[in-house]
């Protein structure tokens, strides 16, 4: 297995799936000649040509809708949003059309499409470029939502998403793009959607997280082990919808204490649902109330001094974990 970055893992997945299926195309702003705003599609234009790697104008509603229309007719487009924040001007196409066409047609029309791009804060770009819409996508029946946190997951889950017959929203993270990890080279390496991953095993406390918050949780687990002798289990959700409820309940039953960590805003965030499910299904296994750390509930702050505090960081997560012990 080679060690590659999250960015290269996404690139491999795209390259392999575009080679494998002539219905797969990649489109979005700056994906071809510019090689992707974050260089995720580097080299793909040279390999596949401008018919498969397609630069679009800055018209999210049109190219998202175009891709939905093409998917309705059997193509498998991958739409890149430079930021998921920009998908907000294409809301109707994703949330009405991609999500609902199958249902409204009584199952006659499928929409095998992937919408992907970064959805994160922590990069000092202010309120309009830092949205994390995994909660509203997951609140929309018809869509699937995944948040890979490692290079291997980025590859295996993007490949699974492209092969999926339903619309899948992939929330990536610009800070993770340079993260390195071992990634299988097998062209059929697939990580099924809806399968959580125990990122590290432990007995005293469970931290359940998704996206980059998994990396923060792992750092906190290390601190707790080293400085306090506390054994933490970190569960990476990987996929929000479908959700691995069994894995969540399993870790809760094991440690009896839970901290939920996400970069999503707290009110009606993903972890509000996770907390509900835990109390619904594992109430008797809890030795303490479920605690949460989310982004602080204001529009994303620009100043580093503010934003570094706003999103879940090591110290905030550690302090909350200590309350549970």
């Amino acid at each position: 297995m080679a060690e590659i970055t999250y960015r290269e893992a996404l690139n491999q997945a795209l390259s392999e799936e575009i080679s494998r299926d002539s219905n797969v195309v990649l489109m979005g702003e700056e994906v071809a000649q510019f090689k992707g705003s974050y260089k995720v599609s580097e080299g793909l234009l040279e390999k596949f040509g401008s018919e498969r790697i397609i630069d679009t104008p800055i018209s999210e509603a049109a190219f998202s809708g175009l891709a939905v229309g093409a998917a309705m007719m059997g193509m498998r487009p991958v739409v890149e949003f430079m930021f998921w924040s920009f998908s907000y001007v294409a809301f109707d196409q994703i949330f009405n059309n991609a999500a609902s066409v199958r249902y409204m047609s009584g199952g006659l029309v499928n929409v095998p499409i992937v919408f992907r791009g970064p959805a994160n804060g922590g990069t000092n770009v202010g309120a309009t470029h830092s949205h994390t819409p995994e909660n509203f996508a997951a609140n929309t029946p018809g869509l699937k939502v995944i948040c890979p946190s490692t290079p291997a997951d980025a590859k295996g889950m993007l490949k699974a998403a492209i092969r999926d017959n339903d619309p899948v929203c992939i929330m990536e993270n610009t800070i993770l793009y340079n993260l390195k990890g071992e990634v299988p080279e097998d062209e059929d390496f697939i990580i099924p959607l809806g399968k959580a991953r125990v990122a590290c095993e432990g007995n005293d406390l469970s931290i359940i997280a998704h996206g980059r918050s998994v990396q923060v949780a792992l750092q906190v687990a290390e601190t707790l082990q080293e400085k306090h002798g506390v054994s933490v289990e970190v569960l990476d959700l990987r996929s929000i919808r479908p959700l691995d409820l069994e894995a969540i309940l399993e870790t809760v039953r094991k440690t009896n204490r839970v901290l939920l960590v996400e970069e999503n805003k707290p009110f009606c965030g993903v972890d509000a649902q996770i907390a509900f499910l835990i109390q619904e299904h594992a109430f008797d296994h809890l030795d303490a109330p479920v605690k949460r750390i989310s982004a602080i509930d204001v529009p994303q702050a620009y100043s580093k001094a503010l934003e570094n505090f706003q999103i879940p960081n090591h110290d905030r997560v550690l302090a909350k974990a200590m309350e549970l012990l």
Partner: protein
Amino acid sequence: MESIYHDADIQKGDSSTKASTTVVPLPNETDFSTDSINHSLEAEEKIRFFSQMLRIRRFEERSLRAYQQGHIGGFLHLYIGQEAVAVGSVSVMSQDDHVITAYRDHGHAIAVGMEMDECMAELYGKKTGCSKGKGGSMHFFAPDKNFWGGHGIVGGQTPLGLGMAYALKTKGTKGACLCFMGDGATNQGSFYESLNLASLWNLPVIYVIENNGYSMGTAESRHSAGEPLARRGEAFDIDWSVHQGHDLYEVRSAIHKALSRARENSRPSVLEIVTYRYRGHSVADPDQTYRSKEEIEEYKQNKDPINLFRDKLLKEGVLTDDKIQALDKAAKDEAEASAEFALASPFPDVSELMDDVYWETDNPEEKSSSGTIFFESSR
């Protein structure tokens, strides 16, 4: 002979709306019957077009009655008055051409060959409906007839139609997508984004603006700057033109030219087809605030697409009064039977509520993911 277009009014005893059977001369009308696409039409085909328009109107009238009887809920956007646009357009399509439209979709659905039964049952929310009762009036679909819906958000289908044209071109099919929309949809941003891409990428999409004069209750003069609306294509180097929607021959001629442009040059078109709806925006629209009864009467008397085509066919000797009566009776009987079918059909079972959301949950044997996909609030 009874008027073709106003059954509901007749039932209310309003005799003032009865049409004359005499041919109403229209000023400055170009004769499109000699156009090559119309000139060679067989009598049978002409009768079929007439019958299609009549069937759409009788279906709409019957559905209005069903709504008033409480069998249909929500919205019901009737197409009455605009029939020549859907029928004329579909009549020149090849098997490689596709259609997508907005929420006033019953006319297009019947024009592409959907059965009245499945359409009426959908309106009734029945399991036998074209979308199993899950789509409703605004969301009819028949992909086997190249009909991709019925879309509820104004202008929301304009990028989808673009995508269909893109898929056709990418797959090397010599087809085009007819994307129907209303005059109100021309003021949505996604439409202009779509026009830009259509021209930039040379996509075979035809935007057909069915300009019925009103964006819901707002007249064109109050909603749009710069007439005609189709001229907006000019900014994107897209061929555009304006046509009269009460003349089925003219609609056929216009759509035929645009389809040829799409097929031969892979170029888009924007066609504005001026038409009129006799009913309100939806049946929930009391239709008393934004236009006069006289205006509606004027259209019914002088520009009714069905009456005008009927008169043409009478003049051409293709139709007789007896034949018209027989076709009308057949259309009414078919519409009535569809209402009976819909009424007798079962509602979908609540156990089917979660079907048709995801391909994967409908095909469990080929399911590739795991985990929970549906969330009940509590159990």
